[in-house]
Amino acid sequence: MRAVLAAVRSGARGIAWFVRGVLGEDAYDKYVAHHAATHGGAEAGACGIGEPVMTEREFWRDQTDRQQKNPQNRCC
């Protein structure tokens, strides 16, 4: 019973991960991870090394602004 429950839980987690990824909800997490890896972490940015990390709100605004400048086609 417990095993079944665990399997269901991990299955549900897998689906949630997939849906998040396909819809692009993980974009901010990916950005933060990238920033941490290349600019030496969020706090380092504030110390003047590289560009500061964007807040979540700033990031999503920036993302739609980029889409505005570089629209992507959707197929028929």
Partner: protein
């Protein structure tokens, strides 16, 4: 051949200076290990592939050879899936091994250009879903419905064989070549490979083709919503729902995409249910009962506003909603078809295959191959496969799963659409899909017309039409051309057997209409924006100010031009006395296949430049087919003397009738309608000439480039320089044993590094 294969080694072999183990762990499983795994035919593996082959063979026999009264839909699903699996395992692997030769020691643009935004390494399974959602739209749902006129077999064979040898090959190659060029677009690659003339022709062709495709997609929506208060209400509601979602994401909870998509989905369902109630009231039925011309103007105005509004307000949320609906509904339909397994009574090859019929004019060859474009071979995909996807691929080998595999998935959608259209009564099918010019738009007219066709096993009664219309909550289903209503009736017919019974048919019908309209309106919006940028970019060569895309006057002007262009074609289709879909849909298919020919021509030039002539046929074969089909179809549309097929023949017939002083001719009851036919056929004919000329220029320049490469023994490439990769990822959906072992080591290393770091501070971005 020894010289070419020798030079190939230099191009992709070990002169690249890339390491398999740049740091602590290998970034790829060694080629020898992978090859050994592939060659290791264990009894279980042999049994599996023998089983798949057997299922495929039996299914094809059931479809193509056994001639019973009916054929079960399950055979379509089995034949398709078994064939896809074999093609993926063997043919796409063959292309990978001999033509593309991906190298996982090489970093992808997502790795070496990583910026955490546009270029970002993405899990292959997520990217598969992402890519699929971007390529699949209303196209694979509509074409197969119209082609069902010819019987079930021609469409099924073309969808399955076409995708394997043409459509999936194109998507895979373009994705791979664009990835090797830092995510360059098709237009840029055309210019690089084909020179200024070929490149410019490709660019102009792409722009014109986009206009036609947007116009005809919009025409499908207009035809689905005309005289349907329920449909008009629920589809209009998608606009405030998207606006609400946009505002929610912008100001209230940024980034909560899944959450807002679920909210949007619930509101959509409410809009469908509410639409039924409102269409049931007298004022609702009167207020939302709109004719085609009004709806067409509505979509034109919507298209303009949507394309100038900020992306966050309308396009982005609509896109989330459309992705969510797309994947959900397609999964639902697949499950439903497997559960219900409808019996199909349509003949394998119908009476209309040789001569054409009321839905599609012209013979099977070439018109089957332009009627079903998306699902078998779709040039539009080349724009997606050279757009976002190549910038997100994690490892080079994954392009096979994403490019080739993603297109197989779309082909499967086309098969399901075909099954849904085939599962409805044949008499109803023809009553719905024959133009008003033939049915008169009335139940009696439709019954008389369909029964006069003399189709075996078809005996349509007025009762069948009124009953079906009532079941799906529509006033009438006569002459609801465009494919979407037919598919919706088919889907409602299948879904009501799973959930709800006939009482739920109206809901399912409008659910399907909504789902198609949602994709199409997203494509209209995105297509207008992309076309506007292309136009501004081209105008910028003459008037530099246009290059500045944030210059508002220029943006509005360019948007107005593009909307005006597709709007004019849309209005022409809507008011066409001959019935817009059957005259314009061939243009849609031809346009899409010409774009495919252009994309494949670019691929051929690239392969030739790499000096790989031995396997050039992998590209040349689908290119030759697409070129022959589209050029032949265009020539028939231009030169045929049969008025139903040739635009200019039709034009001449109506001009002569007008000159003779007649006041009605054929399907046109008035002089005005006759003049409209003369005007429309002239525009359609000129568009055909334009398309075919541009495509011939591109193909000829590609052949010249290929010939030059052959003569000079070329072995060069415009690829970006190879960069060492430092990450690992399995190639396909399921990792192989060796890949899994390596993945475990990488995971362990990641965990180790994480443990070595100081604990992460609380996220600052709040």
């Amino acid at each position: 051949m020894s010289t070419t294969s020798g030079s190939q080694k230099d191009a992709t072999g070990d002169s690249t200076g890339l390491d398999l183990i740049p740091d602590r762990l290998p970034v790829a499983v060694a080629e020898e290990v992978l090859e050994a795994e592939r060659r290791n035919w264990t009894p279980a593996k042999i049994a599996l592939w023998a089983g798949i082959s057997l299922v495929g063979a039996v299914s094809w026999v059931m479809l193509a050879v056994v001639r019973g009264e009916t054929v079960n839909a399950a055979w379509f699903v089995f034949a398709a899936v078994a064939t896809y699996l074999i093609a993926y395992r063997f043919y796409s692997r063959f292309i990978e091994k001999h033509l593309l030769r991906p190298d996982d020691r090489r970093a992808t643009p997502a790795e070496y250009k990583a910026d955490g935004k546009d270029y970002a390494v993405t899990d292959r399974r997520v990217l598969f879903g992402h890519h699929f959602a971007a390529i699949a739209g209303a196209g694979p749902l509509v074409g197969p419905v119209l082609a069902a006129q010819m019987g079930y077999l021609p469409g099924t064979i073309w969808i399955i064989v076409g995708v394997i040898l043409a459509g999936a090959v194109q998507d895979y190659l373009i994705l791979f070549f664009s990835m090797r060029r830092g995510g360059r677009s098709l237009g840029q690659m055309a210019r690089d490979e084909l020179g200024v003339i070929g490149g410019t022709a490709a660019l102009v062709a792409t722009l014109v083709i986009m206009v036609i495709i947007v116009a005809i997609l919009a025409l499908v929506v207009v035809n689905a919503l005309a005289e349907s208060p329920w449909g008009v209400f629920s589809v209009s509601m998608t606009i405030p729902i998207a606006l609400l979602m946009g505002v929610y994401l912008r100001f209230f909870r940024p980034g909560k995409v899944t959450e807002v998509s679920i909210i949007g989905f619930v509101l959509l369902i409410a809009a469908i249910i509410g639409g039924g109630m409102i269409a049931g009231t007298e004022w609702g039925a009167a207020f939302f009962h709109l004719d085609k011309v009004t709806i067409a103007w509505g979509i034109i105005i919507y298209g303009f506003i949507a394309a100038i509004l900020p992306v966050w307000l309308l396009l982005a949320p609509r896109d989330y909603l459309s992705t969510f609906m797309k994947i959900g509904t397609i999964l639902m339909l697949a499950v439903a078809i497997v559960i219900v397994r409808p019996e199909i009574t349509v003949p394998a090859v119908s009476e209309f295959a040789a001569t054409g019929g009321p839905v599609v004019s012209g013979s099977l060859f070439p018109f089957l191959f332009v009627t079903i474009a998306c699902g078998a071979l779709s040039g539009f995909h080349a724009l997606i496969a050279s757009g976002t996807t190549p910038k997100l691929v994690q490892k080079e080998r994954q392009t096979r799963f994403i490019g080739y595999g993603g297109m197989l998935m779309e082909s499967f959608v086309a098969i399901m659409a075909l099954v849904a259209a085939l599962s409805i009564d044949r008499g109803i099918y023809f009553a719905m899909n024959s133009p008003v010019a033939l049915t008169g738009g009335t139940v009696e007219g439709a019954v008389a017309f369909v029964n006069s066709l003399g189709l075996t096993g078809v005996n349509l009664t007025p009762d069948m039409l009124t009953q079906t219309a009532q079941n799906v909550g529509e006033e009438s289903i006569v002459s609801r051309t465009g494919g979407a209503p037919t598919l919706s009736v088919g889907l409602a017919h299948i879904m009501q057997q799973v959930a709800g019974g006939t009482g739920m048919m109206a809901f399912w019908y409008h659910f399907a209409i909504m789902f198609e309209a949602l994709f199409i309106l997203t494509a209209v919006d995105a297509g207008t924006r992309v076309a506007r940028f292309m136009l501004q970019d081209s105008l910028g060569n003459f008037f530099p100010k246009f290059k500045d895309t944030s210059w508002r006057t220029g943006a509005w002007l360019a948007t107005a031009v593009m909307v005006g262009a597709w709007g004019a074609v849309l209005l022409m289709g809507v008011t066409d006395p001959l019935g817009g879909i059957n005259t314009l849909f061939p243009l849609f298919g031809i346009a899409n296949q010409l774009l495919a020919a252009i994309a494949l021509a670019v691929c051929m030039a690239i392969v030739a430049k790499r000096g790989n002539f031995r396997y050039l046929w992998i590209v040349a074969l689908p290119l030759a087919f697409a070129a022959v089909v589209t050029i032949y179809a265009s020539f028939l549309k231009i030169f045929s003397t049969v008025p139903a097929v040739g635009y200019f023949a039709q034009n001449r017939a109506f001009s002569e009738a007008l000159a003779a002083g007649e006041t009605s001719f054929g399907a046109a009851p008035t002089v005005q309608a006759m003049e409209a036919v003369v005007r429309n056929t002239m525009v359609q004919g000129l568009l055909s000439i334009l398309f075919v000329t541009l495509a011939i220029i591109v193909i000829v320049t590609a052949i010249v480039a290929t010939w030059k490469a052959y003569r000079s023994g070329s072995n060069t490439t415009d690829e970006d320089a190879a960069v060492q990769s430092r990450i690992f990822g399995p190639a396909a959906f399921v990792p192989t044993r060796a890949e899994k072992e390596l993945e475990v080591q990488w995971d362990a290393q990641a965990a180790e590094l994480k443990a070595a770091l100081p604990p992460k501070p609380a996220r600052s971005g709040r």
